[in-house]
């Protein structure tokens, strides 16, 4: 059951489309001469960066050692600009900042290679022709744009977390999050995402056994990557030290609580409560219901789960309800809920898992 919400968690916040910038902040008046000089400078820099856009090779690690100011941060903000289609944002980020080749990205997202190549060409052309700026957005745009960048990195991770697991995508997302954390050390949510991905990635090899999803409490903990968990804790500490709470940090806190000797369900339930305040969504409510069930009993959890609106077509709601009903001894209702989850489950791995649960009920 724990993995029901772990999986639910993975799908969040895919829907977190950035809101309209909204408030216009009055630009300071500049005289035309300064304006023109700046434009020329920008253009020169842009031309240089665009030349880099054509380079197929990933940024060389030599940059990190020489301390040459690198423009990868500006590049990632351009790649994740909301004027690009979401799938183009992901492909572009992976191709320009990740270590994956076009065929590898195409395989990972199950897209024909020419389609992906065309998507990349079109996106690069839009960056150039529409004047998408290669820069770190100014303060009044930063929160919204950073959300878009973090969402892309998280999406890459989720695409790899499966099932089926595609480890190279997870590793790439962790690497991108680490890069962002290095480049934007003052952004708490960047460290929060980095920590979250480290915790989740640490459990990657234990999540699927013989092609079947393994519940968190049934996972072989010796398969967890202790180094990554330790790194996750450090990243989370860095995030919390900045004292600017946010959804990724809360999720990382939850993941940290799961990485202890035994999951601390009371703390997890509290963290989901905060998350529901900060970033309300029915999926978060579902996770909260499961955590409450684990800390306060299935009845309390079911009460919360039955109050959730708008998730009727979400298989994890039904599989979580089924588990709660089973624990309350209401086997017939549990079986009906498993059947419903089975109808909605997105892949064979999940269906196999649910069939296993259903047959264990013996109905």
């Amino acid at each position: 059951m724990q993995d029901a919400f772990a999986a639910a968690l993975e799908h969040w916040p895919r829907s977190g489309a950035p809101a309209n910038p909204g408030a216009w902040i009055v630009t300071t008046a500049r005289n035309r001469a300064i304006d023109r000089i700046r434009r020329e400078q920008t253009l020169a820099r842009k031309t240089e960066l665009l030349a880099r856009l054509q380079e197929p090779a990933p940024p060389s690690p030599a940059n990190e050692e020489t301390g040459v100011p690198d423009e990868r941060l500006e590049l990632i903000f351009a790649c994740c600009h909301p004027a690009l289609a979401p799938e183009a944002q992901v492909a572009l980020t992976l191709s320009l900042l990740g270590g994956l080749t076009t065929p590898e990205i195409a395989r990972a997202f199950i897209v024909p290679e020419p389609t992906l190549a065309q998507r990349l060409v079109r996106a690069k052309r839009k960056i150039r022709d529409a004047g998408i700026p290669l820069r770190v957005p100014p303060d009044h745009l930063l929160p919204e744009r950073l959300r878009s960048v973090l969402a892309v990195v998280y999406l890459v991770f989720n695409a790899g977390y499966g099932p089926p697991v595609r480890g190279e995508l997870c590793a790439e997302a962790v690497r991108l999050a680490a890069l962002l954390a290095t480049l934007m050390p003052d952004e708490a949510e960047v460290h929060g995402l980095h920590a979250l991905l480290l915790f989740q990635d640490a459990r990657r090899n234990a999540r699927v056994r013989d092609g079947v999803l393994v519940l968190l409490d049934e996972q072989d903990r010796t398969l967890w990557d202790g180094d990554e968990i330790a790194q996750g804790r450090l990243a989370l500490e860095r995030a919390l030290a900045l004292r600017t709470p946010g959804p990724y940090q809360l999720q990382a806190g939850i993941a940290a609580a799961h990485s202890e000797e035994a999951s601390n369900w009371l703390r997890i339930a509290l963290l989901y409560g905060r998350l529901a305040e900060l970033a309300p969504s029915p999926v978060v409510e579902l996770n909260r219901a499961v955590a409450v069930a684990m800390s306060a009993g299935p009845e309390a959890g079911l009460l919360l789960a039955d109050r959730i609106e708008g998730l009727d077509d979400y298989y994890l709601l039904h599989s979580a309800r089924a588990d709660l009903l089973r624990r309350l001894g209401r086997d017939d209702e549990a079986a009906a809920a498993y059947e419903r989850a089975l109808e909605l489950a997105p892949s064979d791995v999940e269906r196999d898992f649910l069939r296993g649960r259903l047959s264990a009920l013996g109905c």
């Binding site: 700046r38 920008t42 600009h81 529409a130 004047g131 820069r135 957005p137």
Partner: protein
Amino acid sequence: MQYLLLIYSDESLWESLPDDERQAIHREYGRLNSDLHAHGKLVAGDELQPVATATSVRLRNGDTIVSDGPFAETNEALGGYYLIEADSLDEAIEWAARIPSARGGTIEIRPTVDHSGDGS
């Protein structure tokens, strides 16, 4: 760079607004116009006559085919435009967001092609 901001909105919605609201929107457009002008961003801009005045022209096999109506019939019709000077798409987006019709309608942003270096 120059960007064309195309203002699409529902004409019937505009017509249904009470006078004082229309005047408030006009004043808002006025402020936007003077800000664009003061920042040296405004190249051109106009409100268009209602879409009922639109005429479409096509040349097919040498014949000029003239028809009544816009290129595409949609609920939101092109009602006006600004041609502005902006440093980047982000700046164009910020100006576009200030156009009152962005609230109910849609502003399409199109960068123009710079031909100033051509044919010399």
